[in-house]
């Protein structure tokens, strides 16, 4: 099997799973209980949280565990909207967001909020001038993802923050950093709110977090005892948190060298794809090396994916969360419907090997040729 869909999800690493199992077996107490078993769990919970916070350079009270990035995005956008609606009802988002952001925005529109979309240039970089113009005195939130999930364009969060805060110091800056963390360095101090999930960094599914700068006030979406966290009640899922913490430590370790390695794999793939006539590489100078997006001229992306699947090679059309539609990111980049119609995303990780890349390229060549010839013969 060759897995090239690491941006959709990653397999749980063996060590992380070991921790998950051990925490499940040996720490049965509810971390909210006051007896010895509860306290034992609580101490482990605190250590796991502290490790994550130390790795990210944030305070423990600034971290809220969620079921994943989608919930964190909901908590951030709706939480801000509810808390600050007296100040204004305008929210600014980019055209390169994860579908969950757009769905939340659609909902907020029904609640009387106004959503403004900020433009980007042909390299995918947010148009600074446009951002400046779109931030108004009633703009309560700007949400721009750190790395786009389809084409991997990375935004300069620090600069964006400076622009936003200069225009309106009260505007809160949220970023979905799910595709960035563990791949490239992210400084959370550039952002007020950040969403991420564990399953993109070889951790278990079902856990993620929202980073919340202590100055930001949110209205919780899930109410409860508030014992574990006022913003997100419920019994702390200790094994998930422990596994998440471990996955985070492993992911952030030696991150620069891992990125360099993936960059090499990326070059090989791009070099190969550029030799095909009917393939366009949707890559800009701001794309991270882990994501390679290509548009197919003649071949249907979905068909190619199923053809590759026969050889146990797994990758995605645009993103796992938005399959079937036009690629919004490719549209935002090139404004070319045809190009956005049939796209494939190959996503790499530092565990991808050179041999896997070679084997993939060989099989891809055969399958592509087969489908391309078929389409051509159809036309004739």
């Amino acid at each position: 099997m060759i897995y090239l869909d690491y941006s959709a999800t990653t397999p749980v690493s063996f060590d992380v799973l070991e921790s998950y199992n051990k925490a499940t077996k040996d720490y049965i107490g509810n971390a909210n209980s006051i007896h010895a078993l509860g306290v034992k769990s609580k101490i482990l919970l605190n250590s796991a949280t502290k490790q994550i916070c130390d790795l990210l350079g944030i305070l423990e009270e600034e971290l809220v565990y969620t079921s994943g990035a989608t919930e964190a995005n909901n908590m951030a956008l709706k939480g801000v909207a509810l808390a600050y609606q007296n100040r204004g009802k305008n929210i600014v988002v980019s055209k390169l967001e994860h579908p969950s952001i757009y769905k939340i925005c659609e909902f907020l529109e029904t609640q009387g909020f106004e959503i403004t979309y900020v433009d980007n240039d042909s390299d995918g970089l947010i148009d600074f001038e446009d951002l400046k113009n779109k931030i108004r005195s009633d703009t309560i939130l700007v949400s721009i993802c750190a790395v786009n999930s389809e084409v991997g364009v990375r935004q300069p969060l620090k600069t964006l923050r400076q622009i936003i805060k200069k225009e309106n110091p009260d505007t809160i800056f949220h970023s979905d950093i799910t595709q960035a963390i563990g791949k490239v360095t992210v400084n959370l101090h550039d952002i007020d709110l950040a969403s991420m999930s564990s399953h993109k960094i070889f951790g278990p599914k079902g856990i993620g977090f929202l980073y919340k700068n202590s100055k930001v006030h949110l209205i919780p979406l899930i109410h409860g005892s508030g014992k574990f966290n006022e913003l997100r009640s419920g019994t702390p899922p200790l094994p998930l948190i422990v596994a998440f913490s471990k996955a985070m430590r492993i992911a952030l370790n030696d991150i620069e060298n891992k990125e360099m390695y993936v960059r090499k794999l990326n070059s090989r793939l791009c070099e190969s794809f550029s030799s095909y006539e009917g393939i366009k590489i949707n890559k800009t100078k701001y794309s991270i090396p882990h994501i390679i997006n290509i548009s197919l001229d003649n071949v249907k992306a979905e068909t190619l994916i199923h053809a590759l699947e026969e050889e146990e090679i797994y990758l995605s059309t645009n993103t796992a969360c938005s399959s079937g539609d036009l690629s919004t990111a490719v549209m935002a980049l090139y404004n070319d419907k045809h190009r956005a119609l049939s796209t494939i995303r190959i996503s790499l990780s530092y565990v991808t090997t050179d041999e896997e890349v070679s084997k993939f390229l060989n099989i891809f060549k055969d399958k592509y040729k087969m489908l391309n010839d078929l389409m051509k013969s159809k036309e004739e």
């Binding site: 921790s19 051990k22 925490a23 006051i34 010895a36 306290v39 609580k42 101490i43 482990l44 250590s47 796991a48 490790q51 422990v242 913490s245 471990k246 430590r249």
Partner: protein, 396 residues
Amino acid sequence: MEKLVMIKYGELSTKKDNINFFLKQLKDNVSFALKQMDVNIKFDKGRMFITLNKDNFDEVCKALKKIFGIYEFDVAYKLDSKNEEDIKKSVLELVKKKEFTTFKVQTKRSDKKFPKESMEFNRLMGGVILKSIPNVRVDVHNPELLVNIEIRSDGVYVYFNSEKGIGGYPVGVAGKGLLMLSGGIDSPVAGYLAIKRGVKLECLYFESPPHTSIEAKNKVIELAKKLAVYNNNIKLHIINFTEIQTTIYQNCPHEYLITIMRRMMYRISEIVARNNRCKIIVNGESIGQVASQTLTSMNVINETVKIPVIRPVACFDKLEIIDIAKKIDTYETSILPYEDCCTIFVPDHPVINPEFAKAREYEKLLPYEDLIYKAIKGHEIINITKDDKVEFSDLL
């Protein structure tokens, strides 16, 4: 030139014949604090020098800010030559890397063999900087960049803006003391202040399970850990106080509960202190704060022991104590809401002005000597290290 850290002693330098005793202790403490950072330490009567084998100045400086006995420290450059022209050249090279518009040169010449006097050298060096770097001027009152040049017999040292240390005496020079650590806000602060004057602390905690929880005990361990940073590790004695406390409760008039309980605690503390060669007891009592801390209460409670009892926060307001607690990072832990043995069995109206005679008489109702012996015998001792080792290394 060589980059190093230079430490200034402050109050310690007023010591005369026994200064070496203080400095040796300081050196031991510094090397203990920096033991994983690969450094070499040298000292004389005026300065201590730390040379680093790696470029980890930030880490070293952070650690130095938690060592008592250091008045000030600087990241300094030791120049290769004491020749006047070479000094000018090297200083200029260093200054050029800085961004500033106003500056001042401050020379200290402890090596009187150096031909130029301090004032004269200030003028000379200032002139060189003015001539070589455009758009800067001298400001002797509020300079952005203070260029310190120390001409010492072993070499010339240059440093810029200094960092303040936390002062005090090196831990250990005063001998050992036993801190009655409760888990509240005051006692960790009292401990910190005692450590500041060079007292090496051990801690004593009274637990009353099941009336007090493991969480309360863990909280005290956490507090001891925070103090251990300043104390080079810490030994925590844990006394099971349940039997004594319940016996008092069952036998003595309730308005005297606290008075008698404190008398027992004092007695136990004195024995533990003596057994561990601690010369004083330290606690967090503050005059008038609660019924057991009125002057009359202090008299009646204190009469049970001969050992000196030091109360560093006796004359502090609560808010002043809280300020220090926040500074030393114990406040957030202290306010965690767990019962400790002073908050259980609290009578509705504790006596504010207890009488010696009554306290002595009520005490006779219980076999306290046996109970104390039992509590101390085989009590739990935890050695707490400041090393922030990752717990659960197998899981995380």
